[in-house]
Symmetry: C2
């Protein structure tokens, strides 16, 4: 698949068919993730790939709790027009559907990153300047674009972080000797064949948020 | 270009030719960036594209200061073997070269994100759960992969953050009414045609950092 087409049509997929995802395809996506850049090339991330139905169901139950707690905490949405309100409700319904069925999605990929105190050097002697996240989300995005190129749907989700401790324990992720967590969950990405089609997701026109040489300066 | 090939061969490019980069190509990369996911689809990022030679030189001077301050703060590196030491020095020399010539790179793209107090809702009513970064680095990565597909080299850099205030003022980026900054710089991406070739960057074998269903469980 063409690279630009893959980038343009990688969008959140929240409804999946039952068709299993092959290990080979997951490996291809992980290799693409691994090629993403990281500060000082430390490659801090670890991947936990969950395909076992029981483990998926257990992660799914925690995700469902986390999502509904998150949704309740959202401020009430207001809209300029009906079209926006309809689009918002469609996305909310899809997000709810994903939350209520996450455990049935063929594969769940968790992206873990080590917890490094702000300003401290990690094990590889890498000094973070407050941006270890810059070293994991490019990997998540590479994973999702590679999946798209293979016909697989994904969504970058972070709400599971509400129940990080429970998920890390469930998956047997080790803690530090002092009992504090060694890793945090940067993202949980469900992977499967989409119900429905890929397409270009609605976004602001790029010209509206692009400035040339100086803030506010536009180019035709 | 094939999507998987583009993902696998997008690597940091730190030496560029003088060949200019077309506005059309920059726009294609920005459109790809804009399609990246963001929490609640709020698309928080703004782009400042610097191609004017004088503005590039001014940003380059600040980048050079920031980089050399950063390099001095790095802990002394130690290595298991000579091969790793040689690779480390090669990357450091390339990073120094970029720092000393950033102002000459044909285009500099700054990715800005709004500063949202932790746990607060932003203007669109989006509640961040400590991960607004999850909404900007996927866009940076999409930009870099699209550039690769067009034959353009990039590098995801964050050291300019040391001189954020000066850069934001230089570019005329507005502050809040109370004088506090409204935006921070998530990344600065230099863009140009590479001296030398693209290729698959050295990374840990993905199997070493992948766990199946449970931490430590490997698959053949």
């Amino acid at each position: 698949m063409d690279a630009i087409d893959a980038l343009m049509t990688t969008r959140a997929i929240r409804r999946f068919t039952d068709r299993p995802v092959s290990d080979d395809d997951l490996q291809t996506c992980l290799r693409a993730a691994q090629q993403a850049p990281s500060g000082g090339n430390v490659q801090p991330q670890q991947y936990v790939v969950v395909t076992d139905p029981e483990v998926r169901a257990a992660v799914g139950a925690l995700y469902q709790q986390a999502y509904h707690r998150y949704e309740k905490a959202l401020p009430e949405a207001t809209f300029d027009d009906d079209e926006k309100a309809v689009a918002w409700r469609r996305t909310r319904d899809a997000s709810r559907h994903l939350a209520d069925h996450l455990g049935e999605v063929p594969a769940l990929v968790l992206f873990l990153q080590p917890i490094v105190p702000w300003g401290a050097a990690d094990e590889q002697g890498h000094m973070d300047i407050g941006r270890l996240d810059a070293s994991v989300y490019p990997a998540v995005q590479n994973f999702c674009v590679a999946a798209r190129a293979l016909g697989l749907g994904t969504a970058l989700t972070t709400v599971i972080r509400i129940h990080s401790a429970e998920v890390l324990e469930l998956l047997g992720v080790p803690s530090r000797p002092d009992g504090l967590p060694r890793f945090e969950i940067a993202a949980l990405v469900p992977v499967g064949y989409p119900k429905g089609n890929f397409g270009v997701a609605p976004r602001k026109p790029v010209a509206a948020v692009t400035h040339w040489d100086r803030w506010g300066s536009k180019r035709a």
